[in-house]
Amino acid sequence: MKEIIVIIGGGIAGLEAASNLLKLGYSPIIIEKSDHLGGHVANWHKLFPDLTPAKDLVDELIASSKDANIFLNTEVSFINRLKDSYNIMLSNGISIITKYILMTTGFRLFEASKKEEYGYGIYNQVITNSDLEHWFNTGQDKRIDESPMNAIGFVHCVGSRDEKARNSQCSKVCCITAIKQAIELKEKFPDAQIYCFYMDLRLFGKKFEDFYTKAQRDHGIHFIRGRVSEVGENIEGKVIVKAEDTLAGKPIKVTLDLLVLMSGMVCNPDSSKTASMMALPIDSDGFLKSSDNVFRITASPKKGIFYAGACTGPKTVPETLAEARSAVLDIHSHITSQEK
């Protein structure tokens, strides 16, 4: 008998898990709230550190999971615990009985307008990392005109490592994303001066540090250690950014044509909502709590429920994919041990 496995979330974790479950002969069902698969990555342009087109990855994942049952524009209405399985009621009226649920509900991008001092939603020249990727993809953003730019800034850690914003965690990917986007913008506007305002640069991954030194040496991106304190607009419609250059120990000011805010990853409220239906615990950072943060990151404390990807905390694309495969293996060994 083909075991049914319900995957909640059709982002890259859900797709990679579905494709591997299909290979093992199971029948995965993907439930996706939005109208498209691929989640956040589907809106991205290129991926660090090799500038791989995000579309290639998403297309490949969609192709390899096409035999799964996929419900788009569908939410989980409620979940009932039965004796040794779960009854999941969907918003489209369908109900599914399954022994295994894989949560791949991902993250949500921090709402940059909450940091009012950065002026997102107030000044047209202030956009987010996600808006910039959207512009790279479509070339359309009514806030950005195509005339050459002289100066562009990036603000790291927007809503990350910020206790006032109630997100004390590091979002992990923004440092390297800012560097990637800075290089891409420098290639578009070679005469522009590009400034990255950072608190720390956390370049932990494979080739990240090389990417950073390349940005400094080959592209002349300026890195300024200091958190932007305020953003204002001048009479010419440009934004004035103030910070402290903490390495120089002096206040610093610059006028910019465009300011990009590196919005961080925060827990997805939909994920917490679904988790509460199964009484799954939430960790101190607001993300879903694994049964162990070292040894069993893909296991929940509840029988038959597993996690993969950014629902348990900020992750890179390769980490998410690896976790999806790992969760599939966990589910598979669980099923085979039951059969014995």
């Binding site: 030194t213 400094q216 040496r217 300026h222 250690r225 120089a248 002096k250 610093i252 006028t255």
Partner: protein
């Protein structure tokens, strides 16, 4: 009794809009590694002149990038060219040669 009130001192703020980068860019075209400094401070920690004069090659590079050339020259005048900073730089930047290149570029400019 101490005097009350306040005094105004000239602003130490850096205005990046007004920085003249031409000479620093000339330096970087010869010594692109000048851009790779990450201000770890190994150079100043090992510099024998640092504790007496405040010399620090990382500060020199930062000041040049921020258009504070006079401050950079003041610091650099204390360099004894011993090369210890080059030995400890984790990014392998040839700081000693950079000091010499800075002297050459900026001296040439002074003579014009």
């Amino acid at each position: 009794m101490n005097g009350f009130g306040f005094r105004l001192s000239p602003s130490s703020a850096i205005n990046l809009d007004k920085v003249d980068r031409s000479r620093f860019e000339e330096l970087c075209s010869i010594e692109p590694d000048a851009l790779r400094c990450m201000s770890c401070g190994s150079c100043s920690a090992t510099c024998p002149a640092a504790q007496f004069s405040g010399m620090s090659i990382r500060k020199v590079l930062l000041n040049l990038q921020r258009g504070k050339e006079e401050e950079a020259f003041r610091l650099m005048s204390n360099c004894m060219l011993c090369g210890k900073c080059t030995m400890v730089c984790p990014r392998g930047i040839n700081t000693r040669r950079i000091v010499l290149t800075i002297s050459r570029i900026y001296e040439k400019e002074e003579k014009r």
